[in-house]
Symmetry: C2
Subunit: 248 residues, 2 copies
């Protein structure tokens, strides 16, 4: 252990539908010297835009439920329809906020649908269809000994204010570091033994990114023990089934 | 923005009751060159031990409720009594896990009570009485232009597996970075606008610490925009009141 660095990766232009994001990331990385076991964190909006996971709100016809929810919550009914389309379950609708479980299983505001960074206000950016698959596709383009790839989004959470970036897609980065059954330097049982390291890396990466900068990519260097040659189980393995969730 | 580094701070010995932790941290820091606006993250166990927030389990007489809960959850009744003593509300008791709201207002497993790192298995380490106050006291000992001080613990969370380090005490570090009402580089509204930056720094710091290393202190350098001369509102301001919580 000891030390690691987190820095924004320059040279990624504004991404649009159809852009070859893996090639663009590979070109930006080729200008850097990245050590073995680096991690590349990408804000999901860049991935979503490249994949065309964008909905033109003018083309959306909101249904009855969306219209009613939009009226209750003082929201754009077209946006509400997009959120419902992205959700398998609407958990809360209060104070203008919709908390939903997405088709991937993530629980977040607006099912992860974003109206910022879209190039125009009339477009909604969705989460990537399969962010683990997106991460694997980008990593596959990054040459020999590629960095791990981490696709992130900012989620609110229970019990505490504010949002934290979390991992929604992963290739080559360990999602959880399992110390269960192991002991500390004094030979005693550890209380915190199942560390959400991919989410910690996501949170760290966001600190290197100015929220208004448009910089989607961040490099984390110095944590090679969390990076593997295999792509691994992905961010899906971070989802806690509701019936196992004691924090609700 | 751009770049920051995270590294374990060497030279902190095993801490025991009555140790002058502010002086010990100051001495370790004096051997480093820390830039303006650094952040010192400390695992709470070091703070708790120095403050004597330790309970000898042999001296605990569990009451009826603790004995019953311990039987149901297959736990040590003395430890359960300590957890109840630290709690204002027991939220869940299932599968051997107690989720409680502590007297500070934190929601976490075992009310933050730890049986690891105690020097002996028969002792429980509590959270510091007032971690914001502990952070301020340590910072006050760190000379002119001191780093911000962050006291951390590892908490599980709703919806997602694993634990993340969060801020339980703060001096000089901004808890939340508020971008509400501001727009991104394209002039559009941001969805994630209230960033839990202190928790992100806590999560980042834990990545530089081997869980079994006994290293309690980590330095984060390169985020001076999050650090202020004033100690600020503390980690208490990260607590979300239950009636405002849409994630439950």
């Amino acid at each position: 252990m000891g030390s690691f660095t987190v820095r924004a990766l320059p040279g990624i232009p504004e991404i649009g539908p159809g852009d070859d994001l893996p090639a663009i990331v590979a070109a930006a990385l080729a200008r850097e010297r990245t050590p073995h076991g680096a991690i590349l964190a990408l804000a999901h909006t860049a991935v979503s835009k490249a994949e065309g996971a964008i909905v033109d709100l003018d083309a959306v016809s909101p249904g009855e439920r969306a219209i009613e929810l939009a009226r209750e919550q003082d929201k754009d009914p077209r946006l509400v329809q997009v959120v419902l389309d992205e959700s398998v379950e609407l958990l809360r609708a209060e104070r203008g906020v919709l908390i939903a479980r997405t088709r991937h299983g993530f629980v977040c505001a607006n099912a992860g649908v974003d109206v910022s960074n879209a190039g125009r206000a009339e477009r909604a950016i969705l989460l990537p269809r399969d962010p683990d698959s997106s991460a694997r596709a980008i990593r596959a383009a990054l040459g020999e000994d590629p960095p791990a790839v981490l696709v992130t989004d900012s989620f609110g959470r229970a019990w505490r204010h504010g949002q934290l970036d979390v991992a929604i897609g992963l290739a080559g980065l360990q999602p959880l570091d399992d110390w269960r059954g192991r002991t500390d330097s004094e030979g005693l049982e550890l209380r915190a033994t199942w560390l959400a390291v991919a989410d910690a890396v996501a949170a760290a990466a966001d600190l290197a990114r100015a929220k208004d900068s448009g910089e989607p990519a961040v490099l984390v260097e110095g944590l090679p023990h969390l990076v593997g040659a295999a792509d691994g189980p992905g961010a899906r393995s971070l989802l806690r089934p509701r019936d196992e969730d004691l924090f609700l």
